[in-house]
């Protein structure tokens, strides 16, 4: 198979020596996968040929972008071929008047944002990993980010896709404009975690760049005060561009390396951004500041010049990386709850972390009700990983019991698939699987993702998840 793959794309684009495969074993999660070979296509035809070769040898195929994913989605769960999309990284067209762009999947999110900005436009989804993560991966996971509070997630910004399905067939789906007749295939593919095909081109929407922006930092002496302030801002009817919370543990990690000016002894800070026409930014900024002040902040600071704002955001977007200061490993959760439940769920998260003796750092999209508790540990310590997974299961359960879901923007992937029955019945999942089947035979295509069970998907590794589920009983919120 390797010989055939090399014949198809050249030996520079095929990686198969053990030491080179190492870097493709992981993404941003705890899980690991062991691919047999990595191939790096240069264009759509390469992708088609590579899929067909893998199919000929009945080898599993797993698409991969930058590997920044947080659900094990880019891992080769059953080995086989990883198709890395990183060489397909051209922005093919920016249509300023129609506010769209055509991009290849390997384009880095921030690069698309920068190109859009040159034309007075913006690409709205901005995951924290945007300096590295790719548009293809964003589409697979329906990625969000701080600024999706006002603008929606990736699915609200993709109009059409060129898709190579698992059988090696290529087709464009979607249209240049919205809501044209026919099923919303693009809506099905975005967020399908790379399980129904490989996106080889995307027509994305760009949005007008706001003329004015104001970012506020509010410092609080308790998480409860901060989360009550979040609820009050949401309830006020103002839709900020972003509304983020960062807690003490995160500040302790971020501040020494990034010097963002977050006070080390604060329990929580909020980052709130308003944008739009200048008059709106002035008026809404003042109203938001008034609300933030009602909850007895230590201070509320405001930044309007780009450099200052960038500095504040660096503390949020660089948070995950900075956590390495405290512990070598992290397990990042992605539960999402109705926004009024946020204060109670946060309390429960801290309680669970304490009970499992795990440091927890929280930095998350408070305005969306999307939590990112980050459990810190050292995988070399015996039993630590299991403890983290158990605590993670309990946190997900708290989110589900609050009427929420197990993942808001990271995806189910390999990591959370055992927990899907907490929110969906067998009939729900069967309907989803039949949608997958409609895209073609996918037994060997990105196996072991999203849905529980599956042969040869490392069942042993999921024992803890199973125990956890047994403890609470399945299907609590269906």
């Amino acid at each position: 198979m390797v010989r055939d793959l090399i014949d198809a794309v050249g030996d520079q684009a095929v990686v198969w020596h053990d030491e080179d495969l190492l870097v493709y074993e992981y993404d941003g999660t705890i899980d690991r996968g062991n691919p047999d070979v990595i191939v790096l296509p240069a264009n759509t035809d390469d992708v088609i040929n590579l899929i067909k070769i893998a199919n000929k040898y009945e080898a599993p195929v797993t698409p991969r972008g930058a590997g920044t994913g947080l659900s094990g989605g880019a891992l080769a769960a059953k080995g086989g071929v990883i198709i890395g999309m990183n060489r397909m990284r051209r922005i093919l067209n920016v249509d300023v008047e129609n506010k769209t762009a055509i991009v290849q999947p390997g384009v880095v999110n921030l690069d698309l944002g920068a190109e859009a900005e040159r034309h007075g436009l913006a690409y709205a989804p901005d995951p924290s990993s945007q300096r590295a993560c790719t548009i293809g991966g964003n589409i697979a996971e329906n990625a969000g980010g701080p600024h999706t509070l006002a603008w929606g997630t990736t699915t609200n910004h993709v109009l059409a896709l060129e898709l190579v399905t698992a059988d090696g067939e290529v087709q464009w789906i979607g249209h240049d404009t919205r809501d044209e007749p026919g099923y919303d295939l693009v809506g099905c593919v975005v967020g399908s975690e790379g399980t129904v095909g490989i996106v080889t081109q995307a027509l994305v929407r760009l949005v007008p760049k706001p003329t004015a922006v104001r970012t506020m930092l509010a410092v609080y002496d308790s998480v409860r005060q901060a989360s009550n302030a979040v609820s009050a801002v949401v309830a006020s009817g103002i839709v900020p561009a972003a509304l983020e919370m960062i807690d003490k543990m995160t500040i302790a990690a971020v501040e020494p390396v990034l010097n963002t000016g977050f006070p080390l002894d604060a329990e929580a800070v909020l980052l709130v951004e308003v944008d739009g026409p200048q008059s709106q930014v002035d008026a809404e900024g003042a109203r938001v500041e008034g609300i933030l002040n009602r909850f007895e902040p230590r201070e509320v600071r405001s930044a309007t010049d780009p450099e200052e704002r960038e500095h504040l955001w660096a503390g949020r977007k660089g948070a995950i990386g900075a956590l390495g200061q405290i512990m070598p490993n992290y397990y990042l959760l992605d539960g999402v709850v109705p926004r009024t439940k946020l204060p109670d769920v946060l309390d429960a998260v801290y309680e669970i972390a304490e009970r499992y003796r795990l440091p927890v750092a929280n930095m998350f999209h408070a305005g969306d009700g999307n939590l990112h508790p980050c459990l810190l540990f050292d995988e070399r310590e015996p039993g630590a990983t299991e403890r983290v997974l158990d605590a993670g299961g309990e946190i997900m359960r708290v989110c589900v019991d609050a009427g929420g879901a197990i993942t808001g923007e990271h995806g189910v992937g390999l990591e959370k698939r055992d927990y899907l029955p907490w929110i969906f019945t067998d009939a729900d999942m069967d309907a989803m699987k039949s949608l997958r089947a409609a895209f073609g035979p996918t037994d060997n295509f990105n196996p072991c993702k999203i849905f529980p069970k599956g042969h040869g998907c490392g069942e042993a590794g999921h024992q803890h998840a199973q125990q956890q589920i047994a403890k609470f009983g399945p299907k609590a919120f269906v």
């Binding site: 789906i173 399908s192 309830a235 929420g404 309907a431």
Partner: protein, 386 residues
């Protein structure tokens, strides 16, 4: 559905019956499944800015209920007193403000459906951001009742803006109103609505309660938000419209809801013996496409265009299948998708009302076969005979 599917009867789901003209008549029509009795609110916590309702609730009832809490669902739909949420999601279209609002798919966060065989399923949830499992609500939004029966919907909501304003400017011609609309929407990208009307359309809307100065062609600009920013956006848009040569008198209406709804209702008011066409295309190609239509269909009367999102409706007293076909060829290079909305059955049968399905049609058939293997749901009504 269990009974219908085991007996092999075909089923056409019905809501407010505002869009029954849409598409081909079903090839079989045994049972009408009327969902208009499902009108309850299932769950509503205002401070979550989400609501779960049954599919038969009308858009107007929902908006009235939400207004009590200063909230609304950002969707336009003709005849909103009758149109049900299940029905408008099944149709799946954004309205004249789709440039800033998007369509039902963009506000749906959860859905319960009944499959063709009677199995109850759901997708999504009650949270505003969710990637747990496949996005079945998006599959069902815009499926026109061909995949299953929508029974319950959860939407995310928006606060009612503090200020909402409409300015209508009279124009000497529809062409001028459209060109001014293009200029305005480019100069003021945060406009909430930008609609050009022909004289017939303006007159019709006026007779149904729209506050527009006269029966002349007109451009309607809508902006909202805080008062200061709505003013700023509207001023930007007006300046650009004026600079592009629009010099008619303007009227700032107080009847915001009535005016906009009367214009939205035009979508369903095709004069007797007329054919209603709908064109969707990238907005930059709008003026060129309108030129093509104007030349090929000189008798066209009512014209309605969302100048900011590339959506155009027009009425013609008569058109033959050959003309539709050649128009589609001519509009193809402009990425225009021409569909026939309302027409005599003979014309519908003589030409493909939805237009060619495009390259995704193979997957659409595959999905239809998976979800409705007996083809009992609205058979033959949708794209490519689905």
């Amino acid at each position: 559905m269990e009974v219908a599917s085991s007996a092999g009867h075909s089923v056409t789901p019905l809501g407010g019956r505002t869009m029954l003209d849409l598409g081909m008549p079903p090839t079989r029509y045994d049972i009408a499944l009327d969902l208009s009795g499902l009108t309850q609110i299932v769950d509503y916590e205002p401070n979550d800015f989400t609501i779960t309702v049954e599919a038969g609730m009308t858009l107007a009832d929902l908006q009235r209920h939400l207004a009590m809490n200063g909230q609304f669902l950002p969707l336009d739909h003709p005849q909103f007193e009758r149109a049900t949420l299940g029905g408008l999601c099944a149709v799946g279209r954004g309205g004249l403000r789709r440039n800033s609002f998007g369509g039902p798919r963009d506000w749906l966060i959860g859905m319960r459906m009944v499959k063709a065989d009677g199995t109850a399923i759901k997708g999504g949830g009650r949270v505003v951001k969710n990637v747990s499992g496949y996005d079945l609500p998006k599959l069902f939004a815009g499926s026109l009742g061909t995949l299953g029966i929508i029974v319950e919907l959860t939407f995310k909501l928006r606060p009612v803006p503090a200020s909402d304003q409409i300015v209508a400017i009279a124009a000497n011609s529809f062409d001028l109103a459209l060109a001014a609309g293009r200029a305005a929407s480019q100069a003021a990208p945060f406009l909430n609505g930008c609609v050009a009307l022909s004289g017939e359309a303006a007159a019709n809307a006026r007779s149904h309660g729209a506050e527009i100065l006269s029966d002349q062609p007109a451009l309607l600009l809508r902006a909202n938000g805080l008062e200061s920013s709505a003013n700023e956006v509207l001023a930007q848009a007006l300046r650009a419209a004026r600079q592009s040569g629009l010099d008619g008198p303007e009227l700032r209406t107080a009847a915001i809801v009535e005016t906009w709804q009367a214009v939205t209702d035009l979508e369903l008011q095709t004069p007797e013996n007329h054919v209603r066409l709908r064109l969707g295309l990238p907005p930059a190609n709008l003026i060129q496409a309108q030129g093509v239509l104007n030349r090929r269909l000189p008798d066209a009367t009512t014209w309605i265009a969302a100048a900011d999102s590339g959506l155009l409706f027009l009425d013609v007293p008569g058109v033959d299948a050959e003309t539709v076909k050649s128009l589609r060829n001519e509009l193809g290079p402009l990425q225009g998708r021409l569909t026939i909305e309302s027409a005599p059955i003979e014309l519908k049968q003589a030409c493909n009302v939805w237009g060619p399905g495009g390259s995704g049609v193979r997957l659409m058939h595959s999905i239809k076969e998976t979800f409705d293997p007996q083809a009992i749901l609205n058979p033959g009504r949708y794209v490519d005979g689905i």
